[in-house]
Symmetry: C2
Subunit: 121 residues, 2 copies
Amino acid sequence: MTLYHPATEEIELSAVLHALSDPQRLQIVRLLAAHDVPVPCGSLSLDVTKSTATHHFRVLREAGVVFQVPSGTSKLTTLRRADLDARLPGLLDAVLAASPVGAAPAFGRSVSEPATYAAAI
Amino acid sequence: MTLYHPATEEIELSAVLHALSDPQRLQIVRLLAAHDVPVPCGSLSLDVTKSTATHHFRVLREAGVVFQVPSGTSKLTTLRRADLDARLPGLLDAVLAASPVGAAPAFGRSVSEPATYAAAI
DNA sequence: TAGCTGGTACGATGAGCATCGTAGCATATT
DNA sequence: AATATGCTACGATGCTCATCGTACCAGCTA
């Protein structure tokens, strides 16, 4: 039994967006992006149990976001940066550039029209 | 009762990703991006019933992706391009640049290592 | 006033999913 | 061989969500 990985051309936008829309998985991707070397799944400190982590890694892998190789008792995981950039240019960069979850929000009033409407209507 | 719109600073990455991860909503965003003027909801030809369309428009609006103003019996909808670009730079462009659902996939073999692995392992 | 039109509200339904616990299975390590 | 480690498999559970039908409401129009 081999681990399924979609080929680069098979990576689908909605699958990637769905994979990244979960906060836990987004956190995994952020942590992976911080390392440039393959990382054992267990070395990422997550707030979920092992079985839930396995589930999230599978979702990310089957969407084409990460790549996994068995290595001894562990499994090395890397971000498929090049493939994602080739298939969905700019998407991963935009997601990683977004301020992380705990960041202090900007406090100025929005200048654009829609945000103004939100307060006015 | 006023329509809720998040302010620009309140737009959350995971909410936007979740809103865009549904094919119907992705299609709505693509259609809105094709027009630069406010569009009545009903003028977009969707494959769902009215109530489902209402649901999708609300998800997009509450995530901060679109902006809606009541206008007579109708409701005008626009893409919040400027706000999204300010809060999540590059994200919308990357999503819109991705090949639409029905497009013919590239046929060359992938060069990158992970895709090669997908075929080899 | 009466009717039409575009959209919403509400409930129902069926599917998917995030999460967990327990059990199991490989691969080191002793 | 015995144990430890890192992960997976397999339910089970409770929640979310995409979809629909029906009823309803607010504006236009005749």
